[in-house]
């Protein structure tokens, strides 16, 4: 299978290379090469589909002789997870990335017309490069034993339990769809530069850019939801390098959409658009480099370790950066500038400010995420530490220079904690929100201020009301209140535009829906960031209730499922509302770790988040567990276990085992006792097989040996007659209330819905009829403002 799979990959690379070279020959007058380009593109897809089918075959048939199958599946894995396991590891994620890229390539053949050789030449070059990554991280490598010989284990290591849930089926394919599609605007931009077609590429690139942006946004949401709902990380966003590195291309993509729109409506930004389209794809590759080359493995909880791709990834990154920006530099002076509106109160100006805002945020997040890489450059880390050294804040609030030992750290590398992002991004994002409160009402070139002010009445009123509501609900900090007010303002403005525009067709509403979604998201994000309660750890004994954050928690018991998962059965009461919470807790022997799945009760404005921490079984106070030499108490008695005693009795068919104990009553004098049990070999029934020989104690009770373990040298001693209560089982859970989380999910869903509308519209927009006429889309766009 190794041979067959490798041959398929090599064939795919050959087909990709054929397509790239053929397409490159077409502009040189070799028209016939076009067919070879198409054949190569189709053949590459066919090969990759075969690779996927072969991988599926190997996973479903449990071929553990293949290392990848061995590492990511096992016999007890459900069939559909065996399919999903294809993309569980690094080799497979390249497979799915290339698969989507090649599917997009087939559509591009139909949609690009005379741009085809240029766009597909660039695009297939990228796909071929990714196919080479697939060969380097070959998923068909056989499993080898310690001596380097092929070896077929009986069972696989199994899918990582954090991946073993529904989101694993959905999240990676969507993320890689976003990654794959972001290459299309890049290819269009390069084609435009090469052909000196500085405006036409926009039309073709736009639907793809919006689609890539939507998929990336959806993937970010699903990743966050996965972490929040299943993995029990307590939040949906942690500013982890892996998360950030997908956020940066999304932010640049957002800027790209707006810049494309300016140029599409007749204004300038020609050079800017090339630069942003190229940067967006550089960001995708840079993100891949950060998470897959191992450079962040000491800084991120979930990045891949170095696996031999570092050199290749750096090479590709340099190639894409130099190729993209170099082509732009080559044409720079040839691109004629076109004027933008002079007026500040115009969409042109507001778009540009918004684009600056988005790019600045992307730059900060990208810089912060890159800090471990930047500081790893020899000399740079130490220099930066030295330069900033005296200002570094210490944990106690003083600065580093005033500390006892202010020498820079020998290893120059450093990372940034999440507070870097949470202190820099929100103020800047607020500026973007501010732009959105007015921006959608503006004309592209100019605006009648009187009309504008009249339109702003209701949104402004809504903003004031929302800010007041925030104050009433207890918000006191300036930033959250500003966010609630301005987001409501912007949300109302965009709703107003939706109402005004809806008669001209739903397809025109994409942008406004995206804005509404963003505002919902931001309100939710601010609420859940600033006003989530701390995680309260509570201990609930069975049969009692514990009150926290206005909810009464009762513990009903511990249920063990057939698959080994344990469920803490909790009843949560809040007034008349009763909710059964079933957080799961289970030990995964493969990972040697306890996995916890939280229980979440979502209300409109807040989530109750119940994370399981521990189950404490009931404790019978009449017994105690002793190893040799230990001392423990039962009621008034103190026992010390000295060792086992096996008397040399030779009764036929029976054996005695005793425990030598030192016992004292109420702290009095110690005496030695030996409670025994007699094992009878020929007992009539099992109950009589073990005979208890209790010993009388000073307080009038008796002590017996309840059980023993000769291997661990352990006994369990019971005192009879004390009748101490049995301590009930306890559930330990952490509880927190997180406001606004539902708004976060709703916001992303609404935003992605807007993205879908925009894709449909722009894709109709870019289509021409067979006879050369445009598809009749109305010429006036965005609610009757003048366009060119």
């Amino acid at each position: 299978m190794y041979l067959l799979g490798t041959m398929l990959i090599v064939a795919a690379i050959a087909a990709g290379a054929l397509a790239t070279v053929s397409y490159m020959l077409v502009p040189r007058g070799n028209i016939g090469a076009l067919n070879y380009g198409r054949i190569g593109t189709r053949a590459a897809l066919a090969m990759v589909v075969l690779v996927v089918m072969l991988l599926n075959y190997l996973f479903i048939n449990q071929r553990y002789d293949i290392d990848y199958v061995y590492n990511y599946s096992s016999s007890d894995l459900e069939p559909y997870f065996r399919v999903a396991a294809v993309w569980a590891g690094q080799p497979g994620s390249f497979v799915i990335w290339v698969l989507w890229g090649l599917v997009a390539a087939q559509l591009l053949i139909k949609r690009t017309r005379n741009n085809e050789p240029y766009v597909l030449g660039v695009f297939m070059f990228i796909q071929t490069a990714l196919l080479v990554c697939m060969l380097v991280r070959n998923p068909f490598v056989p499993h080898l034993d310690a001596n380097g010989l092929p070896f077929t284990p009986a069972d696989g290591k199994g899918l990582n339990p954090t991946l073993h849930n529904i989101w694993m089926l959905i999240h990676p394919p969507i993320l890689f769809m976003g990654f794959a599609l972001m290459a299309v605007p890049f290819a269009f931009a390069l084609a435009g530069l090469i052909r000196r077609d500085y405006d036409g590429w926009i039309k073709g690139a736009m639907p793809w850019a919006i689609a890539a942006w939507s998929f990336l946004g959806l993937a970010l949401l699903l990743g966050g939801y996965w972490a929040y709902e299943t993995l029990g990380w307590g939040g949906y966003w942690g500013w982890d390098p892996v998360e950030n590195s997908a956020l940066v291309p999304w932010l640049i993509g957002t800027a790209l959409l707006h810049a494309l729109l300016i140029q599409r409506t007749g204004s300038g930004l020609r050079r800017t658009n090339f630069a942003i389209a190229i940067s967006a794809y550089i960001a995708i590759f840079y993100s891949t480099f950060l998470t897959r080359s191992g450079v962040l493995s000491s800084f991120s909880v979930h990045s891949f370790v170095e696996e031999g791709l570092k050199g290749l990834m750096i090479g590709y990154l340099v190639a894409i950066t130099v190729g993209g920006l170099g082509t732009l530099a080559w044409r720079w002076r040839d691109i004629p500038a076109r004027p933008l509106s002079e007026k500040l109160l115009s969409r042109d100006s507001f778009f540009i400010l918004g684009i600056i805002g988005l790019l600045v945020i992307a730059a900060l997040v990208g810089l912060g995420t890159s800090m471990p890489v930047i500081s790893a450059i020899p000399g740079v880390g130490s220099a930066l530490q030295g330069f900033l050294g005296q200002y570094f804040a210490l944990d106690d609030g003083t600065t580093y220079a005033s500390a006892a030992n202010p020498t820079p750290f020998a290893d120059g590398r450093f990372g940034l904690v999440g507070s870097f992002y949470s202190s820099t991004v929100p103020p800047l994002a607020l500026i973007v929100v501010l732009l959105l409160t007015v921006g959608p009402l503006l004309g592209w070139r100019d605006t009648n201020i009187r009309n504008l002010l009249r339109s702003l009445r209701f949104p402004a009123l809504a903003a004031v009301l929302a800010a007041c509501l925030g104050l009433v609900l207890g918000a006191r900090d300036a930033l959250p209140i500003a966010y609630v007010g301005l987001c409501t303002f912007a949300l109302s403005t965009n709703l107003l535009m939706i109402i005004r525009t809806i008669k001209t067709g739903v397809l025109r509403l994409g942008g406004y829906f995206a804005h509404v979604g963003l505002m919902l998201f931001l309100v939710g994000a601010v609420a859940s960031t600033f006003y989530a309660t701390p995680e309260e750890r509570i201990l609930v004994p069975q049969g009692q209730t514990v009150r926290v954050y206005g909810y009464d928690f009762g513990f009903n018991g511990w249920r063990l499922m057939a698959d080994g998962r344990g469920i803490l059965d909790l009843t949560v009461t809040n007034g008349n509302n009763v909710w059964l919470a079933s957080p799961q807790l289970y030990f995964n022997p493969r990972m040697g770790a306890t996995m916890a799945t939280p229980a979440i009760k979502s209300e409109l404005f807040r989530d109750l988040y119940v994370s399981p921490a521990e189950y404490q079984p009931p404790v019978d106070q009449n017994i105690t567990d002793l190893t040799v030499g230990t001392t423990k108490e039962i009621g008034p008695y103190t026992f010390t276990f000295l060792g086992f005693e096996v008397p040399e009795t030779h009764n036929q068919g029976s054996a005695d085992v005793g425990a030598r104990l030192l016992v004292s009553y109420k702290g009095g004098e110690s005496s030695e006792i030996v409670p025994m049990i007699t094992l009878l070999a020929e007992a009539a029934n099992p109950e009589e097989a073990v005979k208890d020989n209790p010993v009388a104690l000073a307080g009038g009770h008796t002590a017996s040996m309840a059980a023993f373990d000769p291997v661990e040298r352990r006994v369990i001693i019971r005192v009879n007659g004390l009748n101490l209560p049995v301590n009930p089982a306890k559930a330990v859970v952490t509880v927190s209330v997180k406001p606004g989380v539902l708004l976060v999910w709703m916001g992303v869903v609404v935003g992605v819905f807007g993205g879908v509308l925009a894709v449909l519209r722009r894709s109709l927009d870019g289509r021409t009829m067979p006879n050369g006429h445009r598809v009749p889309l109305p010429r006036r766009i965005f609610g009757g403002r003048a366009t060119r």
Binding site: G89, S297, A393, D396, D411, G418, S423
Partner: protein
Amino acid sequence: MATVSGEVLQRGVRIKPIYLIGIAMIVLAIALGYNGLQQSFRPYTQSINEAINANRSVQLQGFLGSKGAYNQAGKFTFDLQDTTGKMVKVVYSQAKPSNFEQAISIVAIGHYDASQQAFIADELLVKCPSKYQEQANPKG
């Protein structure tokens, strides 16, 4: 509705309000970023002495010096050893990380607490020789 037909933009001659606002945004971003760097800097070190003297949160990389165990307070503890052979006790408030026993190297993120004479870890990154090291993120 004004149009710009026939109007020629004179580049860089007049300072338009949009330029000022744009530059102000960039300056603000630089200021915020600089401030953020000071607050959020977390150095990486492979020396236990440095971590002890740092008086701040660090990322301490080292090797397992002992098997991990839960102490009386229910915290997971183990000894971390650096390349000089020095050991420090690490106390981790979360559950034992997955693949802990197979770790070839461990990065403990946290600070040294002189009163407990231990390194209090908020997060642990366990690096295993296995294919890739994904583990539950303690903080999210």
